[in-house]
């Protein structure tokens, strides 16, 4: 009896041991994730909530939770000429930026995909602007487009006296110079995304189409580009959120000028919160910007997740 008991005990503890290990294995990933989850919960979602609450207060220099103004800040926001200018500029900027980047990126990717020599050399040339910060891009383009030292000046010294390109100094055109700089920066990155997509296209499909007598243009138009749908979607999401939060490029190139002609929502948020001691107005503009981003990201996530379930 005693003997069997002694034999049983280790078996039992072994079983308990295994149970503990399994429990640990089950809990370990959650434990390891917990700190980062807590940090994100606090520093991202917590502060989103904080900003939202702030936008209903009368905060000026520092957060102040003693005065509540309801939607007053939002009303003031949409009556403020600078905010209206910011929204218009955002519309112009994001539509052009996304459209031109996508078209240029796709075009470059298709050309690079023709199994040309020196692709390994050409690809990084297009991609490198992405390695620069938007601020550096902005300063470089500011100098390049400044009529008194940049392109126009150089053309004049080369003898083309009538050459004139002074958009950056003109209130109506300045926002387009920012589009130019932003497109220069990002289209290489979009190209890389499309190139990866093009490399993933099944050669069999193309060969089948060729046997059927389809021209190259037809193959691209009817088969390859439609196959790029997920890449279009990813590119759109990446570019759209870059457009909404565009700030450094504008600060470096025009700092909102001439006049208030190139204000964008992110610049508005920064200037009101920190420059004008209007923290609550800044917070309400930040909330509007966040809603804009959510309106892009949420449908994207929804379609992605639903797609995942379907496959």
């Amino acid at each position: 009896m005693t003997q069997t008991q002694a034999e049983i005990v280790p078996v039992l503890t072994q079983g308990a041991d295994r149970g503990a290990r399994e429990t640990l294995q089950e809990w370990l990933p959650k434990l390891v994730l917990a700190p980062s989850f807590a940090l994100i919960l606090l520093f991202v979602y917590g502060f989103i909530l904080f900003t939202a609450v702030l936008s209903f207060t009368g905060s000026k220099l520092l957060p102040d939770f003693s005065t509540w103004v309801g939607f007053g800040n939002y009303v003031r926001l949409f009556n403020h000429p600078n905010w209206i200018v910011s929204l218009k500029n955002l519309a112009i900027f994001s539509v052009l930026y996304i459209a031109v980047c996508t078209v240029l990126g796709l075009g470059l990717a298709i050309l690079l995909d023709q199994k040309i020599r020196g692709e390994g050399f050409l690809r990084p040339i297009y991609l490198y602007p992405m390695a620069l910060s938007f601020f550096v891009t902005g300063v470089a383009w500011k100098w390049f487009l400044d009529p008194s030292i940049g392109l126009e000046h150089v053309m004049h010294t080369w003898g083309w006296e009538s050459f004139s390109f002074r958009w950056i100094k003109e209130g109506k055109m300045a926002i387009y110079t920012i589009v130019i700089a932003a497109v220069w920066q990002s289209s290489g990155f979009v190209m890389a995304m499309f190139l990866a997509g093009l490399r993933g296209v099944d050669n069999e499909v193309i060969k089948a189409a060729q046997i059927d007598g389809a021209s190259t243009v037809m193959i691209y138009r009817r088969i390859i580009i439609p196959l790029m749908r997920p890449v279009f979607l990813s590119a759109f999401v990446v570019l759209a959120h870059l457009a909404i939060k565009s700030y450094d490029l504008v600060v470096a190139m025009t700092d909102g000028g001439p006049g208030t002609a190139t204000w964008v929502p992110a610049l508005f948020m920064q200037k009101f919160t920190f420059g004008r001691n209007e923290m609550a107005m800044g917070a309400s503009s930040a909330i509007i910007m966040m809603m804009m981003i959510f309106s892009i990201i949420v449908p994207y996530l929804y379609s992605e997740l639903r797609g995942g379930r379907r496959s």
């Binding site: 220099l61 209130g171 208030t260 920190f274």
Partner: protein, 415 residues
Amino acid sequence: MLRKLLIGTMLSTALTAYAAPSFAEEVEVLHWWTSGGEAAALDVLKKNLEAEGVTWKDMPVAGGGGEQAMTALRARVTAGNPPTAVQALGFDITDWAKQGVVGDLGEVAAEENWDAVIPAALQAFSKYDGKWIAAPVNVHSTNWVWINKKALDAAGGKAPETWDELIAVLDKMKANGISPIGHGGQAWQDATIFDAVVLAEGTDFYKASMIDLDPAALNSDKMVGVFDKMGKLKEYVDADFSGRDWNLASAMVIEGKAGMQFMGDWAKGEFLKAGLKPGADFVCIRFPGTQGAVTFNSDQFMMFKVGDANKAAQLKMASAIEDPAFQSAFNVVKGSAPARTDVPNDAFDDCGKKAMADLAEADKSGKLFGSMAHGHANPAAVKNAMYDVITRHFNGELDSKAAAEELANAVAAAQ
């Protein structure tokens, strides 16, 4: 795990919070005087304090108008650990005082009789609720015109004293083939000119519109006239003015590419650095029609509430700032006038002497006003609302009548 992490974080925060040495007398100073001349000027103060056994802990946050410095300050104050002294301008001081976080310099101020030697218009910012909370370092006046002497000689040689004379000189300079006004198209620079043009319409009008923010003065025929004059001045600015920094505009005047610049007296430093002599190579006058009145901005060191251990050092610093010898040494280098009116003017150049005399005169006659363009006439929100309108008008987005209307509306909305 989570708890350990939390405990660890709390411990390390607590350690850093209490790690400050409490033995030596020390002042921690947040400022944005990081460029050559300014840093050298501040170094004088640092040395004076070190001679008294007070350690200087430097906390420089670079960036023109101190916007970044104020952002850094927000973080420090919110964390409950403000620096001893912070360089600050105008209404920012009042805004911080309202938060109840500033110190009290009463002892030193009473002992050294600051009330009698510092102009009342400055005291409006250095005091809050009757208590001294900041020590003013200097007075910059902003209604200056800096004229290239050669360009002026070629245009008749007489410095303009009225609006019509100014336009005549500008016309001649234009005919001589230079761009008459060296100007940078940034909102605050546009506003600096605007300030002077409003002041030229009379000190009562300046006070009513810029300081009292009287809607009837803001949207008045007189204000439409001011905007018309701004539009007129715009005709004498070169085509590439937009976005140019103020010191590049000064350089245009120094090199003779432009005739004159409307700018505060920090511009003088650029002329002196280029080896130009006041009177011989360049001329400093008040904006035509504003002689006798002065719009100013004043750098001050705002003192925060610190523990008893650091209080003595803070008072020593305040006293060192108001020391007449330091006021003279600092302002000779900085190009401004001393904040005290009893400092001898021997060390200053002709423009500096004029600045001090004008300041004392304006103080006596009650014509010393805070500058709107530099945040000394109204709070940041109102100032920037005015900037928006001024710069939009200057860039041709609004006509004069619409601008005056918009000015009144924008100010009302920002209050």
